[in-house]
Amino acid sequence: MTPEDIGRRLEDAAQLAFPEGGAGDRAAAQRAEAAILGDLRPVNPMAPDWLHALILVLWFVAAAVDSASFLGMEGLRALGNGQAALIFAALLSAGWLGAVACARLMRPATGRNLGPTAWVLACSLVAVVFAILFHGYDTAHFVQDGIPCLRAGLFIATPTGLVIGLLLRRGLVLNWGAAGLAAGTVAGLAGLGMLELHCPNLKAVHVLVWHVAVVAVSGGLGFALGRMSGEFE
């Protein structure tokens, strides 16, 4: 029995149980027409996904650079040229993936949900880059130095994420959990970007735990907030 045979059997059984084009279909179509034709206004189709992704990347870069220029660029000065190039290339790549995930989640039927992938890849990519570039695993002042970085990163990520949430609402988000995760990831990367520009502490253990935690926590918070706002939609 081929898939075509099975399909035919299913189609026959479905037609027998619920014949297509019957009175029920006509009545349902009339009700739907009556509901939508009374409120028919022209609408412009949404901009392409790449444009939304570009807007999100520009927003995340602007949030990171603006906040770091206000707080001071000591971190950038402490980095070598090669280190800075590698770190910011990784941040931009992860940010682009997160932005694409957000843009795709704004419209139905745009393919595979990239939200979880963006979050996992963003955390892993920056962690690998930091592990390659930085050394120093002594834990003196580990918590005292770390908490202010985590707090500052999340302080930048929060408004960035809220603005991304407003942009998401221009479309039709069906999976608010995934959209929140993707938005939180991009927002967290803005916070991390600010820390890389501002924080001069280049100990591997510090950046691997406290800086990467900004992206991880921000993504998690975005997911939780997304789920909650999805309940109210």
Binding site: M1, P3, I6, G7, R9, L10, E11, A13, A14, L16, A17, F18, E20, G21, G24, D25, A28, A29, R31, A32, E33, A35, I36, L37, D39, L40, R41, P42, V43, N44, P45, M46, P48, M106, R107, P108, A109, T110, G111, R112, N113, G171, L172, L174, N175
Partner: protein, 186 residues
């Protein structure tokens, strides 16, 4: 305000959808007439949705109408419609679960009023479909009853074509066994 133009019956759903976005009344009506039977059957064939199929259909059309700006003209329209229908069904299911959790202390729940038909014939299709897990059932419904391609189903369900193929393959295996067993009995 809406305008009425002549609709060619062979016009693609994508063209009708684009004209619906431009507030063309006749295109909107033609789209509703062509898509409603597909959506209604999609809801009717899910046993859990059957008593509420017409409400779900109406809810889906309202969602489609509100979100019509999110359709991009160069894309296939059926996955876009079914993605929204799928979430309407999921939201409805969540509401039912919540309501049932609140009403659990009541021993005998009243049967919901059947708005649609489907007696002994529905049992036959139900026997086939209820044997499948939810994800496989959804894929088979979209592929075989709604006539969508693997790529379109993948778009509608936010998954990859590979995953859709795998679910369809497993569903065929199970359906083959059911149909063979039925043939042996008869």
């Amino acid at each position: 305000m809406g305008s009425r133009c002549i609709v060619d019956t062979a016009e693609s759903l994508e063209t009708l959808m684009s004209r619906y976005q431009q507030a063309d009344e006749s295109a909107a009506a033609a789209l509703v007439e062509r898509v409603t039977p597909l959506l209604r059957r999609y809801f009717l064939l899910q046993a859990s949705n059957r008593p509420h199929a017409d409400d779900l259909l109406q809810d889906t059309w309202m969602r489609l109408h509100r979100a019509r700006h999110t359709y991009r003209p160069e894309e296939p329209v059926l996955p876009w419609i079914f993605a929204i229908a799928r979430y309407a069904s999921l939201d409805h299911y969540r509401k039912v679960i919540r309501r049932e959790a609140r009403e659990r202390q009541v021993e005998v729940l009243p049967e919901p009023a059947g708005q649609v038909g489907g007696g002994a014939e529905a049992l036959d299709i139900d026997t086939m479909l209820t044997a499948l897990p939810e994800a496989q059932r959804e894929v088979i419904l979209m592929l075989k009853i709604s006539g969508m391609s693997i790529e379109e189903v993948a778009r509608a369900t936010s998954s990859s074509p590979g995953s859709v193929k795998q679910k369809a393959h497993r569903a065929y295996q199970k359906l083959r066994e059911i149909l063979k067993a039925k043939e042996n009995r008869s």
